[in-house]
Amino acid sequence: PADEVSSLWDRFKATGEDRAREALIIQYSPLVKFVAGRVGVGLPRNVDQADLVSYGIFGLIDAIDKFEPDRGFKFETYAINRIKGAILDELRALDWVPRSVRARAREIERSLAELEHRLQRTPSDDELARHMGNSVDELRDALAEISNLGIVALDEVLAPDSSNSLGDMVADSMGAGPEAAFQKEETRRILADAINRLPDRERLVLTLYYYEGLTLAEIGDVLGVTESRVCQIHAKSVMSLRNRMTE
């Protein structure tokens, strides 16, 4: 039975025939279900699960066209990366982050950068809000709105030109990423250093989420705050990190 699949590969690579390609797509399409389920962490309502899957299928087709069966590598390993890359690329190309939220995020980032430069430490929510001429509640609402967009959106808003997800980079810097090989040693060191300079609670949220792998609810339980508050702290820490990475 497994020979049927390998002879299908031979046939496709020899003839490039559409029907063989289609059969391969269908055979391996559950891989897209697997990847789309993991990558779509906390995406908001206006991003359709079915859309994620269709972006992923483009990545799968790309992988099928480019894969060389006799190289001795497993197709699944090769395909997973292309599928994930296709989904992230497509998400970034979409203009699905509301303009107002994007502008708000830029504004908070800028104020964070100004204050961090002046104070030589991360400002408290109170200091940040005052600097922006807002109440703390207004600031936290804005952070909540940004974090409601989900982790991928934080990437999209904060690091649209990076080919790695910020989450993967943070996890990698803590020695817990999916592949420790993808990040330049220099980048990893800068990021690790930036994480260490965050205030205790910010650093704890990142550690618990990316390194210890707790759920947002569990982190809230540890800190004695709501899950929504955890998201706000996470959004602010990521913004602060991004400032330090780009200064």
């Binding site: 039975p1 049927e4 269908i26 897209v32 789309a36 210890e212 540890v222």
Partner: protein, 143 residues
């Protein structure tokens, strides 16, 4: 100490990851076969390849577990001899036109049977992993 808990959690996490991977692959195959059955009965007008996104997507209402997850593959055998390897490597999906209705139905039943087992094991391993995570969380908790 905490390092020991972390290590045991990582081991159970690896098992959970492997079970989750095979489970999702089985779900995909199951739903593809079911679609083909509906297509043959006239219930579905689209072709399989057209309907791929709607077949494979999870329901919108699905509530997330709120954990940071990556699509990491478990180690895959070069040539697998377990039942799961036979099922995932068989030619049902690549020779769909050549398989009659009875063949489709029996393929589906075989998948459903192994999926039930794997989902059950997954639930148990998740409970084990969650217990270790709770232990880790307790070490951090500010009382």
């Amino acid at each position: 100490g905490i390092e020991d808990v972390r290590e045991r959690r990582a081991l159970s996490g690896d098992v959970e990851n492997e079970l989750s991977y095979y489970r999702r692959m089985l779900h995909g195959r199951m739903d593809l076969i079911r679609f083909e059955q509906r297509r043959r009965s006239g219930e579905e007008k689209r072709s399989l390849i057209e309907a791929l996104p709607s077949i494979l997507a999870d329901p919108e209402s699905g509530h997330r577990s709120g954990r940071y997850e990556v699509p990491d593959l478990p180690p895959l055998p070069d040539v697998g001899h377990r039942e799961i390897d036979h099922i995932l490597g068989d030619d049902v999906l690549i020779r769909l036109d050549a398989i009659d209705d009875a063949g489709l139905e029996s393929a589906l039943e075989a998948i459903q049977e192994i999926e039930a087992e794997i989902s059950e094991q997954r639930r148990q391993v998740q409970a084990v992993e969650d217990a270790f995570v709770e232990e880790l969380a307790a070490r951090y908790r500010v009382s």
